[in-house]
């Protein structure tokens, strides 16, 4: 498995939480959300833009985000997303789960790196 494929697999399923995490800090529209994720991860995460919009609409349908249209500086209007209390709660639950999960993965990996006593 290539580096990109591995990263893509690891990223799968986490996009909703990355979206909620960046929107928690303030209202953003779709393109800004993609940019913000890229910036915050130092380019490590580049969510597929094709999957970003279905994710946004799904989060909205689930009540984790609300959306408002605003006129853009140029071109079409932009749809701004804001996190809801339900979204904050979802994100908090995911963060706790992620910490437990990543901690366990790290521990397993570090044990396997130690030289065997034999």
């Amino acid at each position: 498995m290539s580096h990109d494929q591995l990263r893509s697999q690891l990223l799968k399923g986490t996009t909703p939480y990355l979206v909620l995490a960046v929107v928690r800090d303030g209202e953003l529209y779709g393109y800004q959300i993609a940019q913000r994720i890229r910036e915050r991860s130092d380019g490590a995460f580049v969510p597929s833009e094709g999957s970003l919009y279905p994710t946004l609409h799904r989060l909205e349908a689930d009540g984790a985000l609300t959306a408002t249209w605003r006129e853009g500086e140029h071109g079409p209007r932009r749809r701004w997303y804001r996190i809801t209390p339900a979204g904050v709660a979802t994100l908090a639950a995911h963060e706790a789960e992620w910490e437990a999960f990543s901690g366990a993965v790290t521990r397993v990996a570090s044990v396997s790196r130690e030289p065997s006593g034999a």
Partner: protein
Amino acid sequence: MPDPGERDAFLASVRSRLDLPDAIARDVLEELEGHLEDAAADLRAAGLSADDAERRAIGRLGDARALGTELARARRGRRQLLAAVGGGIRAVLAEGIRTWIFLAVLASLTAILALPAASIVRLLLGLRSTSSMLVGMPGSLATAGVVVGGFAYLGWILPARSAGPAVRSVRGVRRAVALVGLAVGSAILWFLVPVAMDPVLVVGLPLGPVAFALTALRAPERPTIRVGFVPAVIGAAILFLPMTLLALAATDPPLDNWMADISPIGDVPAATDIENTALAITWSRSYGVPYGGQAEVTVVAGDAAATVAARLPTLRVEVWSARVVDGVVRFGSAPLVVQPAPTEPITILH
């Protein structure tokens, strides 16, 4: 300037898979267009030509049709689907009650008009009695027609009323409404409707929920068929003939001189030592020919009531089938129900 056709083709391809109402689809496409605008501007700022920037921005959104399918799926989240089903049930109740009241009023008015028409037909044809099977069949056909038509109408309008504009045209919602209507309609018909049905109704009535489901699956986003004044008049006119036939069946000539041999009732057992003449036997009837009704026999023993009750502590209460043929009540060959009952003299104070 980049070729605008490429972006338009991409958005049109997304739209082809957006199974959403026009207004919602327009919003989704406008959002994508804004995204393409921003992405292309950034790429141009990074040094790409306008055409390359446009092409790269479109390419980053991936396959247009897959994106359309995913967006449509995302817009109808579970919450909205549940809300749609909830809305569907509310609409079934509200619209269903309204429609059925309307149909009941229509049927009643038609029946009221059909009664004098039936009398005229009877007078003209010299009919004394009519065969219920002969004239009941068109009546049953009319009933089944009204039920099937009513259900089909409900199926046609309900999906549009079942949810907000975000989800009402979604196929899944139509399927949900069709399924709920099929189940609820069948349950109502089988558990609430009286079971005395002829073959036409046995076959016709269950078709109602089926008609509901079929029309619900093809229901428009904005139904154009609404029951207005003109369709109501046309419907009443169409119903008039079968209703007249039904009225013919339901209103046999009045039985002013109906007769029945009730002499066995008057045979008081010898053990009572009471003369038959001491008993007054009367009939009272509540008769709705040809589909049902009842006649009650009252035995008035007068001063001998206490003696009768003492010597005959129980009576046999019998229920007989009976039929009026040419103005004469004819009983069946044996009672349908025989049940003992305590004798209870009723004291009448003068």
